[in-house]
Symmetry: C2
Subunit: 202 residues, 2 copies
DNA sequence: CTCTTAAGCTACTAGCAGTATCTTAAGAGA
DNA sequence: TCTCTTAAGATACTGCTAGTAGCTTAAGAG
């Protein structure tokens, strides 16, 4: 090969190769030699830019995320909005991107620094949509103030994430999604303000 | 070494060595050579009994679980029982046993067979306690029938598990536990039967 | 045209899962 | 007590991968 890429062009080629390897074989099976070969370069060139396999793959993961901000669904009912948001989340989690993210998260547990950045990226993606949906429902009088907490707002996605942690890579069924929405999210959001709370402080 | 163990005694020694290695360095860092050395035997002896590192570690994990069935807390209030159960779950999840289980689960994702057995073991451990606590609260008139679903029963532990998936190994704070109980579990369990449900079917 | 930088190449270390082979102790049966 | 089968133990090996080192040479700036 007589031509030689440098700088940004080379970096882009490596990231692209890493994205393709991630998509095809996943994080666990990705090898640095594989990425180097696919990018038409050598391993040490990769190590000049990223300190480890994990770091490269995190960068590649970022690189493969959809860029444009997506819209908040507006079906007219809280239940419909919630189902739409949860279905969208499920689609992402069951896609290659979701699989890669879970493998990355699992492999990074011992590195709090990287954990934080990845988790923030995960979290930031969704919360605002749920708060928007809840706020709209509140303005319709569908939900009370007590539901407007981060915990309640993210409860559906949190439960969905738990399904994946327990079930492995297989996609979660629509039935489970409606179960989460109908048995947990909607009841929580639309509950009466204070039925019999503060029952005891021991 | 002139004495040579055989059969069950040897198997027990290997499992014990694996348990110690798991406790000290965790699943990720456990090596077959390490287990063999600690057990005073050789790698191939281990492979005559378990087909892989993962299989050995699952057996060792089972071997290190507490055997006796634990009691269901009875504080007199649903909130108190829930906090007690969730605190106990948190203690387990933040212990070496919990760390090992999470590493195992993460490493087994691609093996549905092993996934199922491990997950069932995880699930079986807790659900009945929550159902008991809910049933007692129902008999006191504290909760309605709609709360007696597996989904609602396990919602607190599911959310706690999600915290560990996102936060890594660091223990979840008591504040988060009370947040889960007060903002999610208790409201769900004590809600009025059907406030304004079935809002629309589109 | 020259000189610095970094890309590309090749070879290396170190660690680990899993396999193979051979020797020899354990223990069962005669 | 002797013998014979089984499996424990020791050792060495394959194959794979992360990460490192050093050398050669193209790119591109001045």
């Amino acid at each position: 090969m007589t031509t030689r890429r440098r700088g940004a062009a080379l970096e882009e080629a490596i990231l692209q190769a890493a994205v393709e390897e991630l998509t095809e074989v996943g994080y666990r099976e990705l090898t640095m030699d594989g990425v180097a070969a696919r990018a038409g370069t050598a391993k040490n060139v990769i190590y000049r830019r990223w300190p480890s396999r994990a770091a490269l793959c995190i960068a590649a993961y970022r690189h493969m995320l959809p860029s444009g901000p997506d819209s908040t669904p507006d079906t007219g009912s809280l239940r419909g909005d919630a189902l739409a948001l949860l279905t969208r989340a499920n689609d992402r989690m069951s896609s290659p991107v979701g699989r890669i993210l879970r493998q990355l998260l699992a492999d990074i547990q011992s590195d709090p620094e990287r954990m934080r950045e990845l988790r923030d990226q995960v979290a930031r993606a969704g919360v605002s949509h749920w708060l928007t949906v809840l706020a709209r429902a509140a303005s319709r009088g569908e939900v009370g103030q007590q539901a407007l907490t981060p915990r309640v707002a993210t409860v559906a996605v949190d439960l969905l994430r738990n399904e994946y942690a327990l079930n492995g890579a297989t996609a979660v069924s629509p039935e489970v999604l409606t179960e989460i929405v109908d048995q947990v999210f909607v009841p929580l959001a639309t509950q009466a303000p204070a039925p019999s709370d503060a029952s005891s402080r021991d």
